[in-house]
Symmetry: C2
Amino acid sequence: MTLSNPAAPSASPAATAEPITFLTYGEAMALFVADTPGDLARVERFTRRVAGADLNVATGLARLGFRVGYLSRVGGDAFGRMIVDALAAEGIDTRHVSIDDRWPTGFQLKARATGGADPSVESFRRGSAASHLSVADFDAAYADEATHLHLTGVAPAISASSLELAHRLAAHFLAAGKTVSFDPNLRPALWPSTEVMVDKVNALAALATWVLPGLAEGRILTGASDPEGIAAFYLARGVRGVVVKLGVEGAYYASADGERGYVAAVPVAEVIDTVGAGDGFAVGVVSALHEGFSLARASARGALIGALAVQVIGDSEGLPSRAQLARLEASAASGLAVRAAIGDPHVAP
Amino acid sequence: MTLSNPAAPSASPAATAEPITFLTYGEAMALFVADTPGDLARVERFTRRVAGADLNVATGLARLGFRVGYLSRVGGDAFGRMIVDALAAEGIDTRHVSIDDRWPTGFQLKARATGGADPSVESFRRGSAASHLSVADFDAAYADEATHLHLTGVAPAISASSLELAHRLAAHFLAAGKTVSFDPNLRPALWPSTEVMVDKVNALAALATWVLPGLAEGRILTGASDPEGIAAFYLARGVRGVVVKLGVEGAYYASADGERGYVAAVPVAEVIDTVGAGDGFAVGVVSALHEGFSLARASARGALIGALAVQVIGDSEGLPSRAQLARLEASAASGLAVRAAIGDPHVAP
């Protein structure tokens, strides 16, 4: 048997584990971040972390105190052990993280960015253990524990079997009357063509309750040029709410109920690394909507956590605890008031 | 076109490059060496180097002033660019290092060893660019520049097409009346079974002029238990000379001409990392034989360079320049005299 679950032999059998609230699935990778700027081929010292858009969202939700389940496979290697340890350290439920000895764990190299530019990232994930995720990894009882599913467009892009798993998960949550959030996280290099990517990603997005595209992504996916047009595209396909991320311009939100508007970006003193900003944004939006807040309020929390993520080197280390978030939301509220007073046209009412 | 040669567009066209003396082929990998001891899954900081048994030998021969050709493929990624840069920095001829965009460059993790133990190494090389090496990479005109071919048992193990290339290279050198050295470098994890490994590695060894097994390798490959029996096995198959590496016990050598004996290991104050010792040994033996020295003298140089390799963290950074080697051989000669005087039974006459 080459598939095993690291949690299985533990003293806490699955039957007695605390049920999860959120379920995410995807590919966690080892991440080597360059210690110095410059061409990755010339950097000699690296710091090892973990990477994965879905993993970042799981981490952010877990830090806010939610019980989060992560469904994945890792290889039977040092990277796989490291990832399972990292998940456990964040309090993420690893009952459905399998160790698959047949394939390696994927990994990434990330350059040290300078001046707020997007850092160069190279992925080594083809044929990884996670790329062999399939509907065989689906467990209805586990999915039934959760009230919400978060999907990204990354894991469905790594293989046809993983895409099938994404659809199975989304269909299961929808059939149960539960909510699904979807962040396109476009990775053109993982798809055979732009046409296939747009087709497959939009098919998944149409299943979601909430869709969270970036502006550039939305333009590629919908053909619309402005946030309003992008949101309208998904609302017309039955999505309940759309939040379009606008980078330093903040975000635009629109719901099927007619709620719409802009929230401002949260100013940051220095952008260290932009990777993970969108994942932090998703953490804010999904957690706030789960807590019953409006789409406007959820978008503001997304902008707040996204701003934290760009101020650190790692992809997830800027994600706040519940206490940190509470303090930040309190101070951001007064900050927004000031911005509104000076007439920033993007500040939501 | 996905295959390209980084040297092709340079100002020094292949036709006017200085001819090579030695040819090696194989797989160069990125190597991440842990900065701190312990389980690789828990180490956070790594230093990036290059790895590869054949690459280490090429590096060692180049440092001794020889013109060395390295035949390989790397991926179109940061690791591949890094390797080409590293080869060029060592003065190794890269005219036949192709960049193959279709596959990634392989890489390794290496733990920080303590107390002279062999460090834990994990390889991520399956499906790598180099594993797609084949007879299509063979270039008779390039091979004809060289007077000697060094083969290891690693590259022939990474794929059937690479094994076929190894045979093509060896046959070409033998047909031209040139010499071939072979270091088994057994990698059981890369072979489907021990039986297949023994069969394939011995088939290559039988083609070689000089075979350089370690004692444990020789026992697996020949069934003999002592160095004499291991050497006799290969001499009976037509090999001209065998040097069996005995670790801290030095080495045993035997030639078809009847030359045989032991050389002592060179004492080292502290063993830092044992990886690369055998490659350093090969550099010493091959360079000395090429220079016309006896098998005894060549084995002594092998022991000397092998000892240098274990005193550094990297796989190849202990390999000496020609000037360093000359100084070391001079002082080792006096050291050997002292050891002979005190009756060390392993010192060659």
